[in-house]
């Protein structure tokens, strides 16, 4: 650990650095304040369509089912499906239901939340591998003290009330631990 040194100097610039030559400006008759920064608001409006595979995923999620896209070449299952098997560049062929039980493949404790839907801090953001899936999706871990979350921990989704279900990721409020032995973290490598 370097010693604290409160007299540290900041190195000066080398000499002869190019800068914009001075500009001569016609004299101003008023005391108008010079403009140095402007705001240029811009709003663009789009119609957003998520595509075939995400649409299937979200329609299933509205039925409290998690589905992944199946790679016709390798059998790998991608969740959420984006329509492609990314390693082979081929369309996934249909979907299969995965989970709902799952394992935590990686996580972190978050001390700063964003947006109205963020839970009180600290909370846990995790990569979660549903049983039967080849890769993980992001989710929150709740109903357990944040400092007890572990890689390999078994979890299940907690859904919003049935009357709140929609074609939205937010159907899963969070994931909570279930009483099953942890998955060996070594088996989860390559599934984040």
């Amino acid at each position: 650990m370097p010693p604290a040194d409160n007299d540290r100097q900041i190195t000066p610039f080398p000499g002869d650095l190019w800068t914009q030559p001075p500009i001569t400006v016609p004299a101003r008759s008023t005391a108008t304040e010079e403009v140095q920064r402007i705001r240029t608001p811009a709003a663009l409006h789009y119609r957003y369509n998520p595509g075939i595979a995400p649409t299937v995923f979200l329609r299933e999620l509205a039925q409290k089912r998690i589905v992944g896209g199946v790679c016709p070449t390798s059998g790998e299952v991608y969740v959420p499906p984006r329509g492609m098997s990314p390693k082979f560049g081929v369309p996934t062929s249909g979907t299969v239901e995965v989970g709902p039980k799952a394992s935590i493949t990686a996580f972190c404790v978050v001390h700063i939340g964003f947006g109205v839907n963020a839970p009180p801090v600290p909370f846990v953001s995790a990569l979660i591998l549903p049983d039967g899936a080849s890769v993980s999706l992001y989710g929150l871990i709740q109903e357990i003290p944040y400092d007890e979350v572990r890689t390999g921990m078994r979890v299940e989704p907690v859904w919003v009330d049935d009357d709140q279900l929609s074609t939205s990721f937010e159907n899963i409020k969070w994931w909570r631990p279930i009483d099953e032995p942890d998955t060996d973290p070594a088996l989860l490598k390559g599934h984040m």
């Binding site: 663009l44 119609r47 369509n49 075939i52 492609m84 390693k87």
Partner: protein, 351 residues
């Protein structure tokens, strides 16, 4: 310079709106078809380069998502330009010239349908002096059209004839979006969309994409029975401030054409003129004689998928060389407003 050829290409059937597909779903079949056309798979390809723009569909990091359509595993040598994919082909051609690659896959795509394209394109303009005024891209182009008319270089009838010829030619193009045309007289009877521009002078708004396979030397000969050899390729840019430019010319096209070796006889030219009145600016800068067949595909007036329409011009010339219907052609791609940036490529069949 190494001999490099376009050995295969594929396009979407261009449409006004492909709502059901996202961009990766849109482009994957095109990539697969271009690779299949060369009889190869991604593992045979040394370099991948794509062209796209996040602004068109409002999709941040669009190219990151479309990488899933390539099959980047094991990891690939890959790059991306925020330009028309004709420039992605240029980067790939350079890469092959360095000797670090013998083959390349290039693709470009866009979905312009989710946004209001003429408004979106205003975001490309001078952010201090022009973009805050939100000029739409059609009216902006009209400033160039008016300059052509005022200079007496072209008439509104000439513009209608160009639109008519391109759209009639597009009837033979299975990928075209707008085919067929009213008579020139009937076109001239139509109201202005943005005086001096009528609807027929404008390109359609398109969703679509294109993919091309490049290969060098003997590899090209083994992947295609008749490769379309790149004999010269160059790109140049003019100034952005259209008020300081002569809008009736695009000097960057002439410079690029000279550097690319545009001279002598051509069977075919595919030029990227989104607006009717831009075609003569390009053909005169290329110095094309009257007997050259210009835009047998229908050009950008038949389909104009942004970020792909330039590379499509190269693909169209290459396809006609590879099928034996042409021996020598020139292709042109443009970027920006009012033909600001231009790429010119000479392609030949004889090796």
């Amino acid at each position: 310079m190494r001999d490099v050829a376009i050995v295969s290409s594929a396009q979407t059937a261009h449409r006004r709106s492909v709502d059901e597909l996202n961009e990766v779903e849109l482009i994957q079949p095109v990539i697969a078809a271009a690779l299949a056309g060369a009889g190869v798979s991604i593992g045979d390809i040394d370099f991948v380069c794509s062209g796209s723009s996040d602004y068109l569909a409002g999709q941040a990091f669009s190219f990151v998502m479309t990488l899933d359509a390539v099959g980047a595993w094991p990891p690939i040598v890959e790059s991306h330009v925020e330009m028309d994919a004709a420039w992605a082909l240029y980067e790939a051609w350079i890469k092959i010239q360095t000797g670090h690659a013998d083959s390349a896959l290039i693709f470009g795509y866009s979905k312009a349908s989710p946004g209001d394209l003429p408004r979106v394109l205003s975001r490309q303009l001078d952010p201090y002096y022009q973009a805050p005024l939100w000029p739409d891209a059609v009216a902006y182009a009209g400033l160039q059209g008016r300059a052509m008319l005022d200079a007496g270089i072209i008439t509104e009838r000439d513009m209608a004839e160009i639109a008519h010829r391109n759209r009639m030619a597009a009837e033979a193009n299975p990928n075209a979006q707008v085919t067929g045309s009213l008579s020139v007289d009937d076109l001239l009877a139509q109201p202005y969309l943005s005086d001096p521009i009528r609807r027929h002078d404008c390109p359609p708004i398109s969703d679509g994409g294109v993919a091309v396979v490049l290969a060098a030397g003997d590899l090209a000969r083994s992947w295609s029975s008749r490769p379309a050899w790149i004999r010269g390729i160059d790109h140049r840019i003019d100034g952005h401030q259209i008020g300081a430019r002569d809008l009736t010319v695009a000097p960057s096209i002439a410079t690029a054409a000279a550097k690319a070796g545009v001279s002598g006889r051509f069977d075919i030219a595919e030029v990227h003129a989104p607006f009717s009145f831009q075609e003569p600016i390009i053909t005169s800068a290329l110095g094309l004689s009257d007997d050259v067949m210009v835009n047998p595909s229908g050009g950008a007036l038949a389909a104009n998928p942004m970020m792909a329409a330039g590379l499509i011009r190269l693909a169209e010339v290459a396809a006609r060389i590879s099928d034996g219907s042409a021996d020598r052609g020139v292709a042109h791609a443009t970027g920006g407003h009012c033909l600001q940036q231009n790429l010119v490529c000479v392609l030949e069949g004889a090796s």
